[in-house]
């Protein structure tokens, strides 16, 4: 593999930091990483080159498209191929089976762990964003849903994710935390399916991520859930050991975890790591 420029080293440092600590630690180290990365990029004698392939969870699509554009602006020498988005499990399976990629951003720790277990991650994954649940309802909130207890109202069609998938597990936790028992009409495969049903009006409410509500524009409205903090979904990112372009990979990770990434992610509704 190629040499390790400063950026990569810093990223590694940042990664090791954030796995040990929680919230605060990350907030401290991440900007440093970002600064050092961009600083290196600006002052480096040899600019980055080659191609960069990123695998990212589908829910990151809008943010990572922006970050990719930003990366290209900063490093015109690197050919960043369009990001491959898919369900985290699918991406993990592909990586385990040899899919060529430099960076993997997952929507949950469990899938990232699989990739780590397969020995595919260079160091440790970095958490770079969090996401929490919200109640998605039709625009204007016609059923006047104000919180989780309302979901137990009879005659209300509520859909959630299946308990086996991350968003379903989160919904379970959150509902338990609120002490609310509901009978969902359906336990959907993924957030998209929940959202689709709310959009089409076939469900009156559904539990989805904050970011999904925001990204849907005006198609659905979100109702905040105080108990959401009981199930915070964490997004880890990692440069992969099989990366063909480790330098660029580290730089990209740094960009995501840095202030630019933080801003883009926050705009999309992601919480800070």
């Amino acid at each position: 593999s190629a040499g390790s420029p400063d950026g990569a080293t810093s990223a590694r440092a940042a990664t090791s930091t954030d796995t040990t600590g929680t919230g605060g630690g990350r907030t401290v180290t991440a900007p440093a990483t970002g600064t050092s990365a961009s600083g290196t990029g600006a002052s480096a004698p040899q600019p980055l080159s080659g191609t960069l392939t990123v695998f990212a969870a589908a829910s990151l699509q809008k943010t990572f498209d922006q970050l990719r554009a930003e990366f290209r602006r900063q490093h015109p020498g690197v050919d960043v191929v369009p990001v491959s988005y898919d369900g985290s499990s699918t991406l993990a399976t592909q990586l385990v089976n040899g899919a060529p990629a430099d960076v993997f951003a997952s929507a949950d720790d469990a899938t990232m762990a699989e990739v780590v277990d397969a020995g595919l991650v260079r160091d440790h994954p970095t958490e770079f964003a969090t996401n929490t649940l919200e109640i998605a309802v039709a625009p204007g909130n016609p059923d006047r849903i104000t919180g989780l207890p309302d979901l137990a109202r009879s005659g209300l069609d509520v859909v959630v994710c299946a308990p086996e998938v991350p968003c379903g597990a989160a919904a379970h936790t959150v509902l338990a935390a609120a002490g609310v028992r509901i009978t969902p009409r359906s336990e959907e495969q993924n957030v998209t399916a929940v959202l689709t049903k709310v959009r089409s009006g076939d469900a009156d409410a559904g539990l989805v991520y904050r970011t999904d509500v925001l990204a849907a524009g005006g198609a659905v409205a979100g109702v905040d859930v105080p108990q959401a903090s009981a199930a915070v979904n964490r997004y880890p990112i990692a440069a992969l050991s099989g990366a063909r372009n480790p330098a660029a990979a580290a730089t990209f990770v740094a960009l995501v975890t840095g202030p630019v990434g933080r801003k883009v992610l926050a705009d999309a509704g992601f919480g800070a790591p």
Binding site: G87, S88, S89, T90, A92, T93, D108, A110, T111, A113, E114, D157, V159, A162, E164, V165, P166, A169, P184, R185, S186, E187, E188, Q189, N190, T192, A193, T196, K197, S200, G201, D202
Partner: protein
């Protein structure tokens, strides 16, 4: 009428055996890999769990119901496409094939747009009769039928064209009305084609995932069919591939039994 059986064995040109064997390998090797890689110790548990058996039972019921619906609607449509011609019919044939290329998710969206609570037709159904289709077993059957119907129609249409209309004319001269001709001549004569089409249709319905997931939802016992269960298992936290593979093997085993029960239909004109 006196044509005997063909040059007995060996009507298959020798060079064609090579691709034929390759085709079998191509289709079966991945399945074999699946079998080899399956987590056998955990398999019995995975496939005999309550949810798995409920999903299997639901899958079979819905698959059969969807196949029945497809036969009911598809056989007449295939007949129309095969027996009538003209630009309109040609366009219709192309249109009827379109659902085949629809990615499964989008098929589900289309069904929601049509039959969902705010759908073009769904709203009417709800307002007029209080009928709601999504989230019901009926929705599963409809979604499966929607994706499987073109297979039946296209396969059967080909068989109907191959069989021609000679015998139908003969039956008519014997005073048989069109309905009698259809039941007693047309259908028996396209037996092999009808069987192929039905097999395709049933298999496609049994394996249907996308449209069902979106249109019918995923509820244990009502709408969670095997493919949905498998998909859920696969996407479950930690990507439980092993359970997904185990369930797939179960589904395939059951499908194999059903398909083996289907006797091949010797071409009557052979």
């Amino acid at each position: 009428m006196t044509t005997r059986s063909p040059a007995a064995p060996g009507a298959v040109p020798r060079p064609l055996w090579v691709p034929a064997v390759l085709a079998v390998l191509f289709l079966l090797a991945p399945l074999a890999a699946l079998v080899v890689r399956a987590d056998w110790p955990r398999l019995p548990g995975a496939v005999t769990s309550g949810p798995a058996l409920r999903a299997l039972w639901l899958s079979l019921r819905c698959g059969l119901a969807a196949t029945a619906l497809c036969l009911l609607l598809g056989v007449p449509l295939a007949l129309v496409l095969a027996r009538r011609d003209g630009p309109a019919l040609r366009a219709l044939r192309a249109l009827v094939t379109l659902p085949l290329v629809l990615p499964p998710m989008v098929g589900g969206i289309a069904l929601l747009y049509l039959l969902g609570r705010n759908g073009l037709l769904g709203r009417v159904l709800l307002d007029a009769w209080g009928v709601r289709i999504p989230f019901t077993t009926a929705a599963v059957v409809l979604a499966e039928a929607f994706v499987a119907l073109p297979f039946l129609v296209i396969a059967l249409e080909g068989a109907l064209r191959t069989a021609g209309t000679g015998y139908e004319g003969v039956a008519a001269t014997l005073g048989a009305g069109r309905w009698t001709v259809f039941r007693r001549v047309t259908l028996p004569l396209v037996g092999p084609g009808l069987l192929s089409g039905t097999v395709l249709c049933f298999a496609r319905a049994l394996g249907e995932f996308g449209a069902t997931a979106l249109f019918a939802g995923n509820y244990d016992g009502t709408t969670r069919t095997m493919p949905l269960l498998i998909y859920t298992a696969f996407n479950g936290g930690g990507a439980d591939q092993d359970a997904a593979v185990a369930l797939s093997l179960l589904l395939m085993a059951v499908a194999a039994v059903v398909l083996l029960l289907v006797r091949p239909w010797r071409g009557v004109t052979g």
